[in-house]
């Protein structure tokens, strides 16, 4: 288990990269730190690794307080964004390097390097140098090297960002399977919400050195706790529309959505609806939002339809083949139970 308590990191010059973070990661969990660039996610990962020392707070791995320990004494393995393979060493030497540092005899470490390389599909590449490998192969060598030192925690810094789009999907599946097989606690950093949703058991969404929400991929996607998270998660941005509580509903963009408890009459709110839960209809519906089609974008199995409603742009989706023409009048009716209401002041979810 990895625990972070009240972790604060202030860089010289007064930049606060981490601001009193608390976090605990279960044994064997695949955990994502997700956020836009500059949110402190990489600093957090490096602080867990020991490459940065915190200004205050503590990092525990298992029941050991590792805050004062050097990186090498923490029994973690890190895979860097650029993989950091040593260019003058062969694949075999790279994988065996952690064992060399641990002073294992040459025969033993070469055997282990060969065994792990075989597991990760590198058997034929052992005598090559990193410069002679493709990006995907380099990534697997970096993983093999991390596996070789039998750590209690894996730390991955943007493990997939250096691969091209198609290879990334392959590597993603590979990574998830590897983590399941090894069952080692893994923390990884990413700015790609799709990657986090696909890989992680749980996700911490970070912004400005703080954690905005921690939850399973499902929770974070279904019920983002703030408008920031709502905006960040999802491959198409969520519609965030201003509305007002009126009677037994919320008036938004000419339509009405159901009202949750805990709101007073006339209170302004932000209504969040994902385009995927906002089907585009060609006939009038009670309570639906209505406007003119402005843009249609093809996404493959569905199309994203941007509708202009009283000067505001709202995105909805329609199944492939049913796209309306631009300029036609359409109706958008939110899927029941998928409408999220946020308070205007602090942007928190009204449950």
């Amino acid at each position: 288990m990895v625990t972070v308590e009240g972790l604060t990191k202030e860089f010289p010059g007064g930049v606060r990269a981490l601001d009193g973070l608390n976090l605990s990661i279960m044994d064997g969990e695949f955990f994502a730190l997700l956020g836009p660039s500059g949110c402190g996610k990489t600093t957090l990962l490096r602080t867990i690794a020991g490459l940065e020392s915190p200004t205050s707070g503590a990092v525990r791995i298992g029941d050991r307080d590792v805050t004062p320990l050097a990186p090498g004494a923490r029994n973690v393995a890190m895979v860097f964004q650029d993989y950091a393979l040593f260019p003058h060493m062969t694949v075999r030497e790279n994988i065996a390097y952690p064992l060399k540092i641990k002073r294992q005899p040459r025969g033993e470490r070469e055997a282990r390097a060969g065994e792990i390389g075989g597991q990760l599909g590198l058997a034929g590449l052992m005598p090559r140098r990193p410069a002679e490998l493709s990006g995907g192969q380099q990534q697997r060598v970096a993983l093999a090297r991390a596996v070789a030192c039998r750590p209690s925690v894996f730390l991955f810094d943007e493990p997939l960002s250096n691969l091209d789009a198609r290879l990334r999907l392959e590597a993603r599946t590979f990574l998830k399977r590897l983590q399941r097989e090894l069952a080692v606690t893994t923390v990884f950093v990413t700015h790609d919400q799709a990657e986090a949703l696909a890989l992680a058991d749980r996700i911490a969404v970070m912004d400005a050195g703080q954690i905005r929400q921690i939850g399973t991929a499902r929770e974070v996607f279904r019920r983002p706790s703030t408008t920031f998270v709502a905006n960040f998660i999802g491959s198409t941005p969520m519609n965030l529309l201003s509305g007002e509580v009126r009677g037994d509903g919320i008036a938004v963009a000419g339509g009405t959505v159901p009202r949750p408890d805990g709101l007073s009459d006339g209170e302004p709110v932000t209504v969040g609806i994902r385009p995927e839960y906002l089907p585009v209809l060609t006939s009038a519906q009670h309570g639906a939002l209505s406007g003119e089609v402005s843009i249609v974008e093809h996404l493959g199995t569905s199309s994203l339809v941007t509708v202009e409603i009283d000067g505001e742009l709202v995105a909805g989706t329609v199944a492939e083949g049913d796209e309306p023409d631009t300029g036609t009048r359409v109706w958008l009716r939110p899927v029941p139970g998928r409408v999220l209401i946020y308070r205007v002041g602090d942007g928190t979810l009204v449950s």
Binding site: G50, L51, P71, M78, A84, F86, H88, I101
Partner: protein, 275 residues
């Protein structure tokens, strides 16, 4: 622009290039032909009587062979000192944040041209005299190193800056100590840069005249660059036969070293894996 004009322009360009090539090739051709001529002159021509007599004559000079050994000693000593000190200093300067670091580097670089320059020779002589290092090869190595180090540190720091930090951080997470990181990662990755600095240092020392001339008294310790000065005939005119023969022998080690270092390491000034 007519065709004729273009042709004339092209011809003039080639004539210019040929003249420049000739200008730089002549001394080299002289160096290759004069040692094998029994009566060399300042002109470049095929030896009238091909002979190896000049090499035999050089063998009779009591200092000729020794001076080449001295040059090697001075070159190797300075190279070792410069490479080791510059590598450590450049690594530290590249990785540690010090306020005013760049100002320090540029200041050093500026001063270095003064240190081995003629202007500072008197104070340097006095300094070495006070240290009791007059007529000692070690003293010469120290002064030459002092002059070469700033530029070497400057060049090497630029090289080490291009080596990604993640290499070292990765090794640190595996538990490597700073010395292990230096030995296993930084030095091997920086090897082409270190080779460049080493060759550059030897070439500088090989050709340096003033410092060894002033600091060494004993003719047994003088390097080749200083010895050439003594090759005169009884009549006081330069002994071209000896000078050309000695110059040829004098240039061969540097060329060999250059070829060796180039084939072994290549000279490049960036680290990391090209992507």
């Amino acid at each position: 622009m007519s065709l004729a004009k273009a042709v004339v322009a092209r011809i003039l360009t080639y004539v210019g290039i040929a003249l420049a090539t000739g200008f730089f090739a002549l001394p080299l051709l002289w160096l290759l032909s004069a040692p094998f001529d029994d009566s060399p002159s300042y002109g470049v021509h095929w030896p009238s009587h091909l002979t190896l007599h000049n090499f035999a004559a050089l063998g009779h000079n009591p200092y000729a062979f020794g001076s080449l050994v001295n040059s090697v000693l001075l070159g190797a000593g300075t190279m070792l000192l410069v490479v080791v000190v510059a590598a450590l200093a450049a690594y530290a300067l590249s990785r540690v944040r010090i306020p005013g670091r760049d100002a320090l580097l540029y200041g050093l670089l500026l001063l270095s041209s003064v240190i081995t320059g003629t202007a500072a020779m008197v104070p340097i002589f006095l300094l070495i005299f006070q240290l009791g290092l007059i007529d000692s090869r070690f003293g010469v190595v120290l002064v030459l190193s002092g002059g070469l180090l700033p530029a070497a540190i400057f060049l090497l720091k630029d090289f080490i800056d291009t080596i990604p930090r993640s290499y070292e951080e990765s090794a640190r997470v595996f538990g490597a100590t700073p010395l292990q990181i230096l030995r296993h990662i930084v030095v091997p990755v920086a090897r082409p840069g270190l080779a460049t600095i080493a060759v550059w240092t030897v070439v500088q020392v090989w050709g340096s005249f003033l410092t060894p001339f002033i600091l060494l008294r004993d003719p047994d310790k003088q390097p080749a660059a200083v010895l050439v000065r003594t090759f005169y005939t009884e009549g006081g005119s330069p002994n071209l036969a000896l000078i050309s023969t000695f110059s040829l022998l004098y240039s061969i080690p540097v060329v060999l070293m250059y070829l060796f270092a180039w084939s072994r390491y290549g000279f490049r000034f960036h680290g990391g894996i090209k992507s």
